[in-house]
């Protein structure tokens, strides 16, 4: 089907490029691209893909917009805080380009649903903020035979690579496996707001190149970006003969959440209501409860539980252990507190527990007035 007059006007700068032209623009219109994670990476990627005329854009995310997202997630406005990310994103993308369809998958992409979700798309963009999900998305793309453009960010650094079935290595060929807690996410480590803009735009570029069939994708090439040094570098890597998912004898036949299945030291996890009950009992003269907030000082300053003691995760190893009270570690979403608990258990603190879902879960179910940075 030929382009309409409105499309000819909207995409005129693409049409002026011989490498894209009308045939490439028609391919973009016919294409279906899935963006997993409407965060720092997904926001610029989705904006550019929508503006470029990708006909069907899928967005998968289960989170709501938070004030702390707005420093880098340029899809959202201040008025969107508290709104479902994919709903707010669909509104913004529809306003940007009403010629395209935006499909939303409100919820997390998991080992159970990943293959079915990615199978409906031609290209997948991974912009998740959780290491386990990166493996799930990679495995699903390998199993479903879908190209994947993966990127990740940390403080001032970014990485990007592209997997195309049958043409090169996958993410597991590069990093065979990992575990939650080894690799920090943005909430834990911080990130320069503009950094995901650079890397998300690279992901959109890769997707457009794959669809149009022009240029050299980042196949077997890890692109790294150092914003402080303002330096891009490229590293070559090959397929692994022993890759668990794309190798000739795969042991992974369905997506695996490596981080979720990694063995963790045993410790007790408290739901917000359980912690609230423990604190009430302690206030009434029951067993004492010691709350250790393992977030960074600036997060603690923004808001914390009454009576909580600030011990950033990096200092937990050196803290004074006290078995006289139930020690409950808390953090923003439960990742750092879980690691702190493992450290405590390793020090023999048998009564250690942590708050499942972190202070975000506490604010959602117990105290909405708590400011969680």
């Amino acid at each position: 089907m030929t382009l309409s007059a409105a499309e000819l006007a909207r995409y005129s700068r693409h049409l002026a490029l011989p490498e894209v032209a009308a045939s490439g623009q028609e391919r973009l219109r016919a294409a279906r691209v899935l963006v997993i994670g409407a965060g720092g990476l997904g926001a610029p990627a989705a904006l550019y893909l929508a503006a470029s005329g990708v006909g069907t854009l899928g967005l998968a995310d289960g989170d709501r917009v938070e004030l702390s997202n707005l420093q880098r997630q340029v899809l959202f406005d201040s008025d969107d805080v508290g709104t479902s990310k994919v709903v707010a994103a669909r509104r913004r993308l529809a306003a940007l380009n009403p010629e395209i369809a935006v499909l939303v998958h409100e919820g997390d992409v998991t080992a159970d649903n990943a293959v079915a979700v990615v199978r409906d798309y031609d290209v997948v963009i991974d912009g998740t903020d959780r290491i386990g999900t990166r493996y799930v998305v990679n495995d699903a793309c390998v199993i479903a035979g879908r190209p994947l453009v993966s990127a990740a960010i940390h403080r001032f650094e970014g990485q990007a690579m592209t997997y195309v079935p049958g043409r090169g290595p996958c993410y597991r060929c590069l990093f065979p496996e990992t575990a939650a807690g080894i690799v920090p996410n943005c909430a834990e480590a911080g990130v320069l707001g503009v950094l995901p803009g650079v890397m998300g735009a690279i992901q959109a570029t890769e997707a457009i190149k794959l669809i149009v069939g022009r240029g050299e994708p980042l196949i077997g090439r890890l692109l790294t970006y150092d914003a402080l040094e303002m330096r891009f570098q490229e590293f070559a890597f090959d397929r692994r003969k022993d890759c668990a998912v794309c190798g000739p004898n795969p042991s992974i036949l369905a997506p695996v959440d490596t981080a979720a299945s990694a063995p963790l030291a045993r410790h007790r996890r408290l739901a917000p209501a359980e912690l609230a009950a423990l604190l009430s009992a302690a206030a009434a003269g029951g067993a004492p409860v010691r709350i250790i907030d393992v977030r960074e000082p600036y997060e603690f300053a923004a808001g914390h539980l009454h009576g909580a003691q600030s011990v950033p995760l990096g200092q937990v190893e050196r803290m004074r252990w006290d078995d006289g009270a139930t020690t409950v570690f808390v953090c923003r979403s439960g990742g750092r507190s879980s690691r702190a608990c493992q450290i405590a258990v390793n020090h023999g603190l048998t009564g250690a527990a942590d708050l499942e879902g972190g202070l975000l879960a506490w604010a959602a179910s117990i105290d909405p007035a708590l400011c969680v940075a």
Partner: protein, 43 residues
């Protein structure tokens, strides 16, 4: 970085200049650079 079996941990890759090395006995030449690249998870 190195596990109990003297292997490179699977979330870290080593590159000499721009090429991956999987052998810890690989030699780094006088004018070569060893890069340690760790998996990132932020998005």
């Amino acid at each position: 970085m190195i596990d109990e079996q003297d292997g490179i941990r699977p979330h870290i890759r080593l590159f000499i200049d721009t090429h991956e090395v999987r052998d810890l006995n690989a030699q780094v030449g006088a004018n070569q650079v060893l890069h340690l690249i760790c998996a990132l998870s932020g998005g």
